[in-house]
């Protein structure tokens, strides 16, 4: 927890360093959304191509209300890996919803350095084939089906969104996930929760590297007195 707090303090420090250079007056203060950004995460594809036991996809969307953004994510994840004494697999879907605050007010393209909060929830099934040595029964191999599991958690997020070309955006998001709450897993404790990651601890880190398309819903206000 201390490590987490320190890391976020450092990120906040970074943002304040950028913010101290100039305090622009914002003439674009309108809460009407300028567009919906829809994107996907490249990490799952990169991870899968490198032989990771994970596969799946994640879709990220957000919509702006001045410097505030409503963000909704949806994903699917499958984990399959052999164990020292068997095999484990899980598969499921997850979603996150929350908001981000953009600290780059001066940018005419509304590029973002942001911090945010999310709540996440996942539904999944898991299965394990486990061989247990026994002095009386020899090596006993059994297949254990987990009940339909549910998990919920919260996240602190931070990252960047950069306009690359017209409607094309790229960015990354770091996530600190905490407060994991698992339900319905009496037979088989999940090793991994889709969207959260490994369950050995109640907190986890995650990251996305994303490509977005911004669908405009109105013309973006132009900042006329920035940099003065």
């Amino acid at each position: 927890m201390l490590r987490f707090a320190f890391s976020w303090l450092m990120l906040a420090g970074l943002l304040s360093v950028y913010g101290q250079k100039e305090k622009p007056r914002d003439t674009t203060r309108s809460y009407a959304p300028t567009g919906i950004r829809v994107g996907f995460d490249l990490f799952p594809y990169l991870r899968e191509s490198l032989g990771s036991p994970y596969s799946g996809y994640e879709i990220n969307t957000d919509i702006d209300f001045y410097r505030y953004y409503l963000a909704v994510d949806y994903g699917q994840s499958t984990f399959r890996d052999s164990l020292d004494n068997g095999y484990y697999a899980n598969t499921g879907t997850y979603w996150r919803v929350g908001g981000d605050v953009n600290f780059l007010l001066k940018d005419p393209d509304r590029n973002m350095i942001f911090l945010g909060l999310r709540v996440g929830q996942s539904q999944f099934t898991n299965e394990a084939v486990i061989t247990s040595p026994s002095t009386a029964f020899g090596n006993v191999t059994q297949t254990i089906q987990g009940n339909e599991g549910r998990a919920s958690w919260r996240e602190l997020t931070g990252g960047l969104r950069v306009k690359v070309w017209k409607w094309l955006w790229m960015g990354y998001t770091f996530r600190y996930k905490f407060g994991l709450n698992l339900r319905g897993n009496e037979n088989l404790q999940p090793y991994d929760v889709p969207g959260f990651g490994r369950t050995a601890r109640n907190d986890a880190w995650g990251a996305n590297y994303q490509i977005f398309i911004k669908i405009p819903v109105r013309k973006q206000p132009v900042a006329t007195n920035l940099g003065k």
Partner: protein, 146 residues
Amino acid sequence: MNRLGWFSMALLLGGCFNPGDCVKNNKSNIELAFVNASGAAQTVQFSSIAISGLKQPILTNVNANAVSLPVNPAAANTTFIFVRSNRKDSITFTYRNQALVLNPDCGAIIYHRDLDFSVNTFGANTLQITNRQLLTTVSRNATLRF
């Protein structure tokens, strides 16, 4: 990005790496102690102790004040048959199995929890469960009074 920025980013990313644990404290044996009416250790003789369904007894010519009884890790109960010179008794222990994957290298383990019994022919109130979890840190799960 200036030096402070790179340093901060390195610290931020440093929190991403978290090695897993590989601690196994489960076991698949019930530790059964024999006691007398006052609760003191009691040495008892059995010609054999067997598991119902297995051909060979797990222990023969027992002369001890405690035994370690292996449970079937794939079942929710195991019945043990205790043979003395003039009688045969049985105890059926029940338990709940819960699997936990530690990590791919350490493998998965099965915890046996909620230990109880459904059959005891030694007599009423002779068997007492003292600890309901089968763990390496638990030296006694049940006592059988003679």
